[in-house]
Symmetry: C2
């Protein structure tokens, strides 16, 4: 370990242990040099690392401070989507977001990809290499259709942490959480059927509805409490809803976690109307709360919740390891899994199982949760600094996604066009609605190390957005599609 890394680590441990608290001034460069017997440039480099890690900030002519907690001044409004079943559109825009070659030189501020460079992930690559080095039929053959027993056992143990008592046979491994969601939806609904969703909602799920000819009934959603149970109840009375699809924990894109009482009430409502729930928990393990919040599945006593999750947001999407606990729909889900892709690849499953068994997963989660929470605070500060004061900002309770609501009239599809020259892209809010609502909203990712480049990109987004707000006020009818 280099000298400046040692120095940075020493300071970091003191912050973690509360020796220096949020808002405290840290030792000056000179004091640090004396104390640790290092050079000025080493001390400067150590602080630079801590700044990059979003642990400290430099205040001009004052020194370095432990970054204080930051909360949004204005939250996004409670959403008010159309209260009738709609066909889903927006595929072209989703495709533009998800089908970018990884080597294109564009800073993707809107994608749902975690930090893949984390040191705590290294053992996973080593495990994968070792398993492959053994070679032979092992690499190349199928395991059970339901997936490796080892991994299902690990998942069952992890799920106790979210209040679920599952048996390994209650779990099927899928090719990412996307396949879990796709299978769940196709198991429950046929073309023309209506699925209720929290709104805004993950575009991947919305596009599953589209591809299968289903209609989305978007339910108003509170940026802190989640889906409106009152609106959902009215909708259940009024429409023949086949399934309720929600992301109640570390919601994508809003970041809220539904309070436990509301989760319980949601399951009760589904029981009363005899409707199934598809629960997307892909960000759940990244909750900032300890212990992590319970899933809806924890309150499911008659097998109507199909819990979908996986390791794309905690380990990496390229592994394609997801899972589903389909409750009473196990047989149909097994059939759908078989016809969808057959058994999933064996080796990544074994690697993840071993990564968990050896304690690496827990260690990695702890590290990522700390990092993402710090990054959230830094991004909050940057957004407050660079966006107009009336911008609604979500306050994520986990994960690495933030939702901004700009003044009505600002079109974030056009914002992306204007950002093209700066080689920066956000995720326009319209992707998260069946009918392209939320055009004045956008999603940002704070998983990436918040380097000067990222900070500059956020500044640039804020600058262009602010210009557009001004234009919208001057020419309120310029954008006919508003």
């Amino acid at each position: 370990m280099k000298l400046y890394e040692q120095a940075a680590r020493t300071l970091r441990q003191r912050i973690d242990h509360g020796v220096y608290r949020v808002g405290d001034r840290l030792p000056s460069i000179r004091a640090l040099c004396r104390e640790l017997e290092i050079s000025v440039s080493t001390a400067q480099e150590a602080y630079r690392r801590l700044e990059e890690a979003a642990l400290v900030e430099a205040r001009p002519k004052s020194g370095y401070y432990v970054i204080p907690r930051e909360v949004p001044t204005v939250l996004p409004s409670v959403t008010r989507p159309a209260q009738r079943p709609l066909d889903v559109s927006q595929w072209d825009h989703v495709l533009a977001l998800v089908d970018m070659a990884p080597d294109e030189d564009v800073l993707m501020l809107g994608r749902g990809v975690p930090d893949l460079e984390a040191a705590t992930l290294k053992p996973l690559s080593r495990l994968l290499a070792t398993l492959h080095r053994r070679g032979g039929a092992h690499d190349l053959s199928y395991d059970r259709l339901s997936g490796s027993r080892e991994l299902r056992e690990r998942i069952v143990r992890l799920a106790t942490g979210s209040g679920c008592l599952l048996h390994p046979d209650d779990v099927l491994i899928t090719t990412g959480c996307q396949e879990a969601l796709s299978i769940a939806i196709r198991t429950l609904a046929a073309p023309g059927d209506v699925v209720a969703v929290d709104s805004p909602s993950f575009y991947g799920t919305m596009q599953i509805l589209k591809a299968n000819g289903l209609k989305a009934l978007e339910i108003p959603t509170d940026p802190e409490l989640g889906i409106s149970l009152e609106a959902l109840e009215l909708a259940l009375e009024q429409w023949p809803i086949r399934a309720i699809q929600v992301t109640p924990t570390c919601n994508n894109p809003l970041g809220y976690t539904m309070p436990e009482s509301r989760k319980r009430a949601l399951v009760a409502l589904a029981q009363r109307f005899d409707v199934a729930i598809i629960e997307d928990d892909i960000y759940g393990d990244l909750s900032f709360a300890t212990p992590r919040p319970k899933t809806l599945k924890a309150f499911d006593d008659d097998g109507r919740v199909l819990l979908c999750s996986g390791f794309s947001k905690t380990l990496g999407p390229g592994l394609r390891v997801g899972w589903i606990a389909p409750g009473r729909y196990r047989d149909q889900v097994t059939h759908m899994k078989y016809v969808s892709t057959g058994a999933s690849a064996t080796l990544p499953q074994l690697a993840v199982a071993e990564f968990i068994a050896k304690g690496h997963y827990e260690r990695h989660l702890r590290e990522m949760i700390r990092q993402y929470q710090r990054h959230r605070d830094v991004l909050l500060r940057l957004v407050k600094r660079h966006f107009s004061a009336d911008t609604g900002i979500s306050y994520p309770q986990g994960g690495f996604l933030m939702w901004l609501e700009l003044p009505a009239g600002v079109d974030c599809l056009r914002l992306n066009e204007r950002l093209a020259a700066s080689r920066v892209r956000i995720a326009p809010g319209s992707l998260f609605s069946a009918s392209g609502k939320y055009r004045h909203c956008l999603r940002l990712n704070y998983a990436l190390p918040l380097t000067a480049t990222v900070a500059e990109a956020i500044r640039r987004v804020g600058e262009v957005a602010t210009d557009m707000v001004a234009e919208a006020i001057e020419h309120p009818l310029a954008d006919s599609q508003r």
Copy 2:
């Protein structure tokens, strides 16, 4: 290399070069000892290896002979399925076949799994290990939704060998060929629609129809020429067929390759009735003909053929690397791919691309084709020896699957039950029909090294089947489901 391996290799090269021809007697043990200056036990071991490789056979009191070519005496009949659209059943039986844990101690004579222990596969495991050792974001992140450019370029070059001129953008990588087929079918047909299939037909595809509420119209099929074009034409006149799904090259389960003229005529027929074709070519690269036969896609001048393939039968199903060339349906197929599983895992794609680029794939195919062709001949001989003389036997033109037609009245689901005690299983023919026809047929796999254990298992299957034939003659009404 050990001495007996060297000796076996010397003999093998002579057989390959025609020094010893089919049916020739090979040097005696004594002669071989003298010539190669090896011990008797080494010479015996060398011959044992060649027997296991199905290159030579020992004839009692005579010596070792190069195994002669064998052809079936009786072919399976031309099939006569119900000529109306049917719902697909048989899922329980398919599940029993495909969802067996790999470590269960049962010899699966009916599965569609290639030889995964081949020496020519070793470089693939090494490539996978090396790629993972590099580690980092590479392992864990997504590539393009359409898959790695390197692999798509390799596939395009391979496809020239089957008469196709494709551009890398015409190809999408999928999670195995099963996903390619699933996506193709869902792109073309909605619940209630009719899909025409060659019959018998791969159960995986039939189950896709079932899961999506589609009806199968099974078309009579000739065991040497493939789907009956005359019957298909009548069906196209009579029913609103949305797609034709066929496996025209190295058919599963019948093993035929449709003659080129009939492939051309099939595409012309589809054009005349303006119907799309879903072509399953997963076994095509394992054709025993040189050069390998053309695909239907080679005759497709208006983009109506969706060519589905992959590396599950040539390299290994556990890789889950498949692909689709969807012709004019590219946009819808891309959407279906996105909602089905998102992008496919990156690293197996890169490993396969490199395996091809370095010439390993060609070498491996050459070796496997030689092996499977020899195994086919040996299995033919075993079946002729152990099954009743009126058993119809297919004559596979590639791949590693053989279809047997027992006398009517023999129930192969019951055959499997009776084989349970011997820990042997075949694939019952009824899985290959929408309505459970072909109960008197079965599929065998000859990919595995034809060891004494496998030969004994085949003998046992023949013995039980022969018993059942006798019972069926004595009690023709015993099996009401016949």
